[in-house]
């Protein structure tokens, strides 16, 4: 059956809560209200207030408390109301959760759900894509699904993982994308990218909402005989370099596409690694399509100008194919 991306997230949470009584959720307005995006609607009624915990407005305490519960062997799932607000919990994420296992050998099985991304006319503090802030930090796993199937399978895998996982769920995709998911357990392994569209001309390495846009670009370029291969990273940390390299070795041309700003973005790191590890396969420079180095703008006109889309991707991909 086809379900939305949001419903896939909801199903994953529901099934994991049902499966393991050590899984519980905490966050702001997730209980009675069902979450700012209604992802947890109905959970309070089913699982009760001890497993669906409405907290004070305290991002750092929420993440810190989740780390504490995780140290005791529980499996907390934190809902950040918006990924933007994770900055308020930054210290707990990068200094406490990320380093605990390396320092002390103590696992922190923690999931932070981070609703991120733009395209919903929500301005500078409800639209950001902050994954690069965490990409730099050892000890965290970062996932960013693009389809309902990946959304469900990756969230289940994240909840069962013994490490802190930040689960970037794209707000634009919540209700804009539908897809098939399997009933029950269909785990998507963390650390495995997936080729969403095989092609021969250019490797488009991307994730999140930009997967759909890249597939759109591929459709646009088809008539011109330009055949894009779209590699959906799905996991940003640890990166699946095997899949990335295999694609680039095949096509000889690579571009990285993300919604987050280009400066200091994950794309820069992927491009550098391709330069280091795939230089001899490359027939053209590595290009990046990403947001400019500005805060995320509010006005729909500025927002459209800010965000990468299928047209912008197609333009660059054509350049690359014809290089």
């Amino acid at each position: 059956m086809e379900i939305t991306y949001l419903e896939a997230i909801r199903q994953a949470l529901w099934e994991e809560m049902d499966r393991d009584d050590q899984v519980f959720m905490l966050g702001q307005d997730i209980g009675v209200y069902g979450g700012a995006f209604k992802v947890t609607k109905g959970f309070l009624e089913k699982f009760g207030p001890e497993r669906v915990i409405d907290t004070p407005l305290s991002e750092s305490a929420i993440v810190g408390a989740a780390i504490g519960a995780a140290l005791m062997g529980m499996r907390p799932v934190v809902e950040m109301q918006f990924a933007d607000f994770i900055s308020c919990a930054f210290d707990q994420v990068v200094n406490m959760a990320a380093k605990q296992h390396y320092r002390l050998g103590e696992p922190v099985p923690l999931v932070i759900r981070a609703p991120y991304g733009g395209g919903i006319h929500a301005g500078p503090y409800h639209s950001q894509s902050p994954e690069a802030w965490f990409f730099h930090v050892a000890g965290l796993k970062l996932v960013a699904p693009s389809t309902p199937r990946d959304a469900k399978g990756l969230l289940k895998a994240a909840i069962r993982d013994p490490n802190p996982v930040i689960y970037f769920e794209h707000k634009y995709l919540y209700r804009h994308i539908k897809g098939e998911v399997a009933d029950g357990d269909d785990l998507v392994p963390i650390g495995k990218a997936e080729v969403k569209r095989p092609g021969s001309s250019v490797s488009v390495i991307t994730y999140g909402a930009m997967v759909q846009q890249s597939l759109g670009a591929a459709e646009k370029l088809m008539p011109e005989g330009i055949d894009l291969e779209v590699v959906d990273l799905r996991t940003l940390q640890p990166l699946d370099m095997t899949t990335i390299l295999a694609s680039v070795e095949k096509t000889g041309r690579a571009m990285v596409v993300h919604e987050a700003p280009k400066t200091g973005g994950i794309g820069g790191d992927i491009a550098a690694r391709l330069a280091e590890e795939a230089f001899h396969y490359l027939d053209a420079p590595i290009l990046r399509v990403a947001a400019p180095h500005t805060p995320f703008p509010f006005s729909p006109v500025l927002e459209a100008s800010y965000l990468p889309n299928a047209d912008k991707i197609a333009l660059k991909a054509r350049e690359l194919a014809n290089f």
Binding site: F24, E50, R51, I53, T55, P56, S58, S60, A61, I62, V63, G64, A65, A66, I67, G68, A69, A70, L71, M72, G73, M74, P76, D91, Q92, N95, M96, K99, Q100, H101, Y102, R103, L104, G105, E106, P107, V108, P109, A138, G139, K141, P162, N163, P238
Partner: protein
């Protein structure tokens, strides 16, 4: 000194841990001056009564979240002098296997959350451990330590508020030792007592003579008992004095000499020793026996740490993730 119903054996145990704390830290300070320890050395001289008195009030399966001057509590929870010394020397046999140094150690299986440098970071984590106890209906308590400086941080506020709102089984214990590095109290807060902050969170706040180990023990025992019965958290403030620099590189010349002179007269170990002699629990023979045992234990720890291997450079990458 409020002895409550503390037995002579327990009183001698408290005395032993006070002396062990001071002896170990003096030894580490000497090693530092001899250049046999790299990195910072943090000493709790003059404020050992807060750590030891608090830990003496806890049950065996309670958990502590120590700060950097809580060696006494760590020892009472079962961290060994050997592990402590090996940690300072960066050896493989330290609790972080050389991944972290000095006072940044712990072991959750022994009920010690590993301290990290950003002040007050452990307070939300401690709240989370308390949350796990509450959710699992375990009658266990968390004692979370911090200093006067840490009480200015947001995580202090967030943790105390969260713990109070959720009625978590926490005892927040402040070493008010007059200085945070070089910053005196009057530049840290505009109130007289850290415990006054408790009112803002709707929890009891108690100020005790932090150099009276039994007064600390009594206040923490009462708070822990209330927490264990579901009565929620308490803030206990021990007034004390940091008798040395922030770390051993710091000569603390910014501290007026008269302050140290006044506080030296209130030395917690001297006072407790006099009290025990008054009550005829301690005499010269027992004191000598304890001192002999301590020096043996301390020298064995130094020998163990110095003989222990360093971690191997090739193992650098191990343990970033739990598997």
């Amino acid at each position: 000194m409020p002895a409550d119903n503390v037995t002579p054996i327990e009183l001698l145990k408290i005395y032993y841990y006070l002396k062990l704390t001071r002896g170990l830290e003096q030894r580490v300070s000497t090693l530092y001056r001899q250049g046999r320890i790299v990195g910072g050395v943090y000493i709790s001289a003059g404020e050992e009564a807060i750590a030891v008195g608090s830990a003496a009030a806890l049950e065996a399966d309670d958990v502590i979240a120590p700060s950097h001057r809580d060696l006494g509590a760590n020892l009472m929870k079962g961290i060994t002098p050997k592990e402590y010394l090996a940690q300072y020397l960066g050896k493989q046999t330290g609790l972080t296997r050389g991944r972290d140094g000095n006072v940044h150690y712990g072991d959750i299986t022994r009920g010690v959350i590993g301290f990290i440098s950003p002040m007050a970071d452990l307070l939300p984590v401690a709240a989370g451990v308390g949350l796990a106890f509450k959710l699992r209906r375990e009658r266990r308590v968390v004692a979370a330590f911090f200093g006067d400086g840490a009480s200015s941080r947001g995580d202090f506020h967030e943790a105390l508020n969260l713990a109070a709102v959720m009625k978590l089984p926490l005892v927040f214990i402040c070493h008010n030792n007059q200085y945070a590095y070089s910053t005196p109290l009057e530049r840290q807060m505009a109130i007289e007592h850290v415990a006054d902050r408790a009112k803002a969170y709707g929890m009891p706040g108690v100020t005790v003579d932090g150099n009276d180990v039994l007064a600390v023990r009594s206040a923490v025992a009462e708070a822990a008992s209330r927490a264990r019965q579901g009565g929620g958290p308490t803030l206990v403030e021990g007034k004390t004095m940091r008798m040395r620099g922030h770390a051993e590189h710091d000569d603390a010349s910014y501290v007026p000499a008269w302050m140290l002179e006044e506080w030296r007269k209130l030395d917690p170990i001297d006072r407790f020793g006099a009290y025990l002699r008054e009550r005829q629990i301690l005499d010269d023979a027992i004191a000598r026996e304890i001192d002999d045992r301590l020096s043996k234990e301390i020298e064995e720890a130094v020998a163990f740490a110095e003989a222990s291997p360093f971690p191997e450079g090739k193992d650098l990458l191990e343990g970033v993730y739990a598997s």
